[in-house]
């Protein structure tokens, strides 16, 4: 029995051996989302800290925050329906074998903590249908299915308090809603720093950034 060809082993690999990891809709979604989140964080800072800095008026910040918020919500649905209707949804499938998942999770953490500096081989082989390493997978599942929707829903409630008053009452009042929204905001602020830095941990500091522009995986040193 002959071994499977490179194409059979990895159907995403093109002839130049580059894997097409990020389809166009995902890349558009990613950068629109990134810009949206940065603007939401910026206007969010302005809304919360008028007394500390005044990049724009509170009123302008509210209107911008609302409009960008709606845009980012629409963008999330673009992402959601793309994955829902494509075979790439496997990237977000939960790993049912928890023991195996966490074993790989810690191996990945160990790589980031030590192996990456020692030139060790990356423990996760990327594939268009399994492009996230276990740490990324858990983070993005949590972000995209829990944190982001909670932020949207709490944001919507605050966009029109009267319209959503029954729901707001149900969860304990507008102060509860705002506290949850701000906790998510704090999480996103931290995420932005860490995400931007982790993006530099590819084969070269620019590799992952280029991948998110071209869609193709950049060559690894070991390749």
């Amino acid at each position: 029995m002959s071994p499977p060809s490179a194409m059979e082993q990895n159907p995403g690999k093109a002839q130049d051996q580059k894997i097409y990891l990020h389809p166009l809709p995902v890349r558009i979604w990613h950068w629109v989302n990134a810009a949206g989140f940065l603007l939401l964080i910026l206007t969010g800072f302005q809304l919360r800290y008028v007394d500390l800095f005044s990049l724009m008026s509170f009123e302008t910040a509210v209107h911008l925050h609302n409009w960008i918020g709606f845009f980012v919500i629409a963008n999330w649905f673009l992402w959601f329906f793309y994955y829902l209707t494509s075979d790439k949804i496997t990237n977000y499938h939960p790993d049912l074998n928890a023991a195996s998942f966490f074993e790989r999770f810690f191996r990945q953490a160990q790589f980031y903590g030590q192996g990456i500096f020692m030139g060790q081989k990356r423990p996760h082989d990327v594939h268009p249908s399994n492009k996230f390493n276990p740490m990324q997978k858990l983070t993005y599942q949590f972000m995209m299915f829990i944190t982001v929707p909670i932020t949207f829903i709490s944001g919507l409630m605050m966009w029109d308090v009267e319209r959503f008053s029954a729901l707001i009452e149900l969860v304990g009042g507008i102060r509860v809603v705002n506290t949850v929204h701000v906790l998510m905001f704090i999480m996103f602020v931290m995420f932005m720093f860490v995400h931007a830095y982790m993006g530099m941990l590819g084969p070269k500091p620019s590799s992952h950034y280029k991948e998110m522009i071209t869609g193709y995986e950049e060559p690894h040193d070991e390749d």
Binding site: S57, M158, V176, T179, V189
Partner: protein, 435 residues
């Protein structure tokens, strides 16, 4: 014969003399009816009665005033029903005080003016009367006793009768956009607009306590019909603002403000009122801050714990509302061009609007019973549940979340810096081992 003539002439003279004042009254005051002339015969003089409290009460009626009174048609006995023809005049009956006499006649008014009396009974004025407040107005305090004008003439030029008690409020009103328009022929920006007077907003007889302030927003809207639409054009969350911020907060820019946290029953959808069924809560209020130095966040949280009353289902929360701190300021309404439009005046830390905080429970008559609270209750994480319904982004932000944000930024920066440093260390260590 001579004697008889003399006696007859004398009797006639006495009779004519007796009739003289009445004839004189009738000559000058044609509108006054004959039965009333009999009363006025005495009561147009400087009669005085010593009351039991020692005061000498004048019994004199100014005939000219009575002649113009709308009650002229019902005559004296229309109100003074204790004066019956053929029976003894009650002049010798003791009267405890002027107030006691007015109170007695308040009942007299209600015999004809049932509707007004029913409205009055619902008012804060009647409530004060029931509380035994001698300053609380009775019918005659506003309408006078014998100079009762027709409703059409009841144009309160000098702020009367309300200004008799509410002097400061009347002064504030006179200088307001409403008062100014009224004195300038109801002209606002060159247009005729019937500017409101006291009773237009507060009703004439059913004068409610201002703590039932919800109705006041509706009152403003009844004239300013387009205000809702106008606010929706620019004000984010306009409906919510109109619900939790009193109109005067922005439209009386000089006003002192406060946040009132009103105990509100979410099941009954009504403010909690002092009553037997709420006794536990009332006792808690009194016990928690016996020194009166203001409820801090922990005290407020304790107060809101176990607010169930007597086994009755209740869901009591504090409903926050930003309002003007006193009635005088509430009347200093300015032209809309002077209204506060800057969101920053409230939506920033230490905004003046959030420095004065009270917790209130309503008395049965709607008046507030307020307890001072520390302004920290608005920005404490402990209050997330107890005052869950009131929040102003920026203005009442929770300070602990600020600390958490700083921690997140520091942590977010520490990850790359720490990871980079770790890499340097491990590479150096690895390099040394290789050597």
């Amino acid at each position: 014969m001579k004697t008889g003539l003399t006696l007859g002439s004398l009797l006639l003279a006495i009779a004519l003399l007796g009739m003289a004042p009445a004839a004189s009254l009738a000559d000058h005051h044609e509108e006054v009816t004959n039965p009333d002339l009999k009363c006025l015969k005495c009561h147009s003089r400087n009669l005085k009665k010593t009351l039991e409290d020692g005061e000498k009460m004048s019994l004199k009626i100014e005939v000219a005033d009575f002649e113009k009174s709308v009650h002229r048609v019902i005559g004296c006995t229309g109100c003074h029903r204790d004066i019956v023809k053929g029976e003894k005049h009650p002049s010798r009956e003791p009267i405890a005080s002027r107030r006691a006499y007015s109170l007695k006649h308040n009942q007299t008014c209600s015999q004809c003016h049932e509707d007004h009396d029913a409205d009055f009974e619902k008012s804060i004025h009647a409530s004060l009367v029931r509380d035994g407040n001698d300053e609380a107005p009775l019918c005659s305090d506003c309408h006078t006793s014998h100079k009762i004008q027709p409703r059409t003439d009841f144009e309160p030029v000098n702020g009367e009768p309300c200004s008799k008690c509410h002097v400061d409020i009347n002064e504030a009103y006179a200088q307001s956009v409403h008062g100014g328009a009224r004195s300038e022929g109801n002209q606002i920006r060159g247009k005729f607009i019937k500017a409101p007077y006291c009773s237009d907003c507060h009703e004439a007889h059913e004068v409610l306590a201002v703590s039932s302030a919800d109705y006041l927003v509706e009152t403003c809207m009844s004239c300013h019909e387009v205000a809702k639409l106008a606010h929706e054009q620019w004000l984010p969350n306009a409906a919510m603002h109109m619900k939790s911020v009193g109109c005067a907060v922005c439209h009386a820019p000089e006003a002192e403000l406060r946040v009132n946290l009103q105990l509100f029953d979410r099941i009954k959808q009504a403010p909690v009122r002092r009553s037997e069924e709420n006794i536990t809560l009332q006792n808690k209020l009194a016990e928690i801050d016996p020194n009166g130095n203001g409820l801090d966040p922990v005290e407020l949280w304790k107060m809101m714990l176990n607010t169930d009353e007597g086994g009755q289902p209740s869901d009591i929360k504090l409903r926050g509302r930003l309002e003007v701190a006193n009635g005088v300021d509430a009347h200093r309404l300015a032209d809309h061009s002077e209204a506060i439009r800057s969101c920053e005046s409230c939506h920033q830390a230490n905004a003046e609007a959030f420095q004065n905080v009270t917790v209130s429970i309503n008395r049965p008559d709607g008046r507030k019973e307020s307890y001072k609270a520390d302004s920290k209750v608005l920005s404490s994480p402990i209050s997330v549940d107890s005052i869950g319904g009131f929040y102003a982004p920026g203005g009442t932000r929770i300070r602990w979340l600020d600390a958490l944000l700083v921690l997140a930024i520091v942590g977010g920066l520490a990850v790359p810096v720490g990871h980079f440093a770790l890499g340097k260390y491990l590479r150096r260590k690895n390099g040394n081992k290789s050597k």
